[in-house]
């Protein structure tokens, strides 16, 4: 460290280094039987890092047009050295980052980490989750294969059903009445320009809040042992990150991403068409809802309910009144479990009925 004193002096003379140092060092990580769940935020962050790195690499060869997208991805997969690895890592980590974010979301929910004063950390976290889903939805179309084409057709059709602004939002997303070349350009634009900016802003806020306020301790926990975040806990985080990087590489080597057939807007939708697994529960719900309920189109009701669910998720810190008073109410736990069970159950159901084709 002594070797860098000139640098430290240089910085200290110019910037408020003591405050920055304090911000880095003041956070303590509580050690208790739920400490395991603290790793999932960092895990999600590491996977986002992998996505940014592999995404930047893919941009070197990817061409965002209906005429060339599929061919350029095939070129990456078959001709570019280790192109298959870069794309497979991007495809696999895309799934893992959603999974990791789900675990992080669920664990902070069940531990009531959103209770005052951390409401905004929760809200920014839920917004980040939506941004990640947006990345998944827009990225899925980019290879321009049959699966992606029809999943996007259905996905943007769902947007169109939203009362009032739906039609406008749909036209905006598709860039016209149908999913075409224009849609691909838009999804590319969202995927590599708009969503990354949104991610950077909300993620920056999220991390700043966590760093300012430190970790939430679960209710009714008497243990007082802690470990400094910097550098002790961060070094443990690094171990987890190294493990996940190794895991992503291993999965990508043994199960490289597939490409399928090029999208043809004038071919019938093939059987067994499915969105990414994290949208499957919604897909299954849409499948089950009847055409009409009390004269209203069934899909509209399904979409309205999902929208309300998303809003409720965002407002959890204010809806859970007992947690504001420092109590963990059994009903909140039950609602959380019911929500997880619904999503998990519907996903498994969809996977099974999809596998039958």
């Amino acid at each position: 460290m002594a070797r860098f004193t000139w640098l430290r002096d240089f910085l200290a003379e110019r910037y408020p280094m003591r405050q920055l140092d304090e911000l880095l060092h003041h956070k303590q990580i509580p050690l208790h039987r739920h400490t395991f769940w603290y790793y999932w935020g960092g895990m999600t962050l590491a996977l986002i890092g992998i996505q940014i790195a592999s995404g930047v690499l893919l941009l070197l060869y990817y061409r965002p047009s209906a005429a060339e997208a599929f061919e350029s991805v095939r070129f990456i997969m078959t001709k570019v050295q280790f192109g298959w690895l870069v794309r497979s890592v991007h495809a696999w980590a895309a799934n893992l980052v959603i999974f990791s974010a789900m675990v992080h979301l669920a664990s902070t929910f069940f531990l009531r980490s959103y209770r005052p004063p951390r409401e905004l950390t929760w809200v920014s976290g839920v917004l980040l989750f939506f941004v990640l889903l947006g990345f998944g939805f827009t990225g899925y179309l980019l290879p321009w294969n049959v699966l992606a084409f029809f999943a996007t057709k259905v996905g943007t059709e769902i947007v169109g059903v939203v009362p009032g602004i739906g039609a406008m939002l749909q036209t905006f997303l598709r860039g016209g009445a149908d999913v075409t070349d224009v849609t691909l350009t838009r999804f590319f634009w969202l995927h590599i320009a708009v969503l990354p900016l949104a991610l950077a802003a909300v993620l920056g806020l999220h991390l700043l809040l966590v760093q300012l306020q430190g970790m939430s301790k679960p209710l009714k926990l008497r243990e007082e042992r802690t470990v400094p975040f910097f550098p002790n806990f961060l070094l443990r985080d690094f171990i987890a990150w190294a493990l996940i990087l190794g895991a992503v590489l291993a999965i990508s080597v043994y199960q490289p991403a597939t490409l399928g057939d090029k999208a043809d807007p004038f071919a019938p939708t093939p059987a067994g068409i499915q969105p990414e697994w994290y949208f499957l529960w919604m897909f299954q719900t849409l499948k089950l809802f009847p055409g009409h309920i009390l004269g209203i189109e069934g899909e509209l009701i399904a979409i309205a309910l999902t929208g309300l669910g998303g809003l409720a998720l965002l407002l959890v810190p204010w809806l859970d009144r007992p947690a504001r008073r420092g109590q963990a109410h059994w009903l909140v736990t039950l609602i959380g479990i019911a929500g997880c069970a619904y999503v998990a159950g519907m996903t498994i159901w969809a996977l099974q009925s999809g596998g039958a084709h």
Partner: protein, 152 residues
């Protein structure tokens, strides 16, 4: 707020007037920037080829109890030759969530693989989530050509 004794109460003070002007200008500048951006985000309406009649295929290429997808402008249509040897045509866009339907030979129904919607050969919903029947088209033959046109 400074009150002047001579002037009526509702008269704007110089400060309030300048503030109003400044806020108004900022708002106008903001609007003048946002509006073109908002319009820019929506693509120009393409030269929409609103086709009303199209040659969907030839009688010879379509066996009894089979179907084909044809282009109707920018949309897919489905032309069915029923087991009773009648020609029918519908929009191939499922009324549920826009997937492209296909003909199921074994059951002689039109089905949508996305959410398992089924239509009969009149385009009516048999089962599944679609809320409406498929849009039907008029079918005529001219020589060997099958002409499909929109119902008026």
């Amino acid at each position: 707020m400074t009150e002047c004794s001579g002037c009526p109460k509702e008269r704007l003070s110089r400060r309030a007037f300048l503030q109003l002007l400044l806020k108004g200008s900022v708002l106008a500048l903001f609007g003048a920037t946002i509006y073109p951006v908002a319009r820019y985000l929506f693509p120009p309406r393409g030269a929409d080829v609103s086709v009303s009649t199209v040659v969907a295929g030839t009688v010879g290429e379509l066996a009894v109890n089979s179907a084909k997808i044809f282009r109707f402008g920018s949309q897919p249509g489905i032309l069915v030759r029923t087991p009773q040897d009648e020609l029918r045509a519908f929009s191939a866009v499922c009324t549920h969530l826009n997937c492209t339907v296909q003909f199921d030979r074994a059951a002689s129904v039109i089905n949508c693989a996305c959410h398992n919607g089924k239509f009969d050969l009149n385009g009516q919903v048999i089962s599944g989530p679609p809320p409406r029947a498929l849009e039907a088209y008029r079918v005529n033959t001219r020589g060997d050509d099958i002409i499909v046109s929109k119902l008026a």
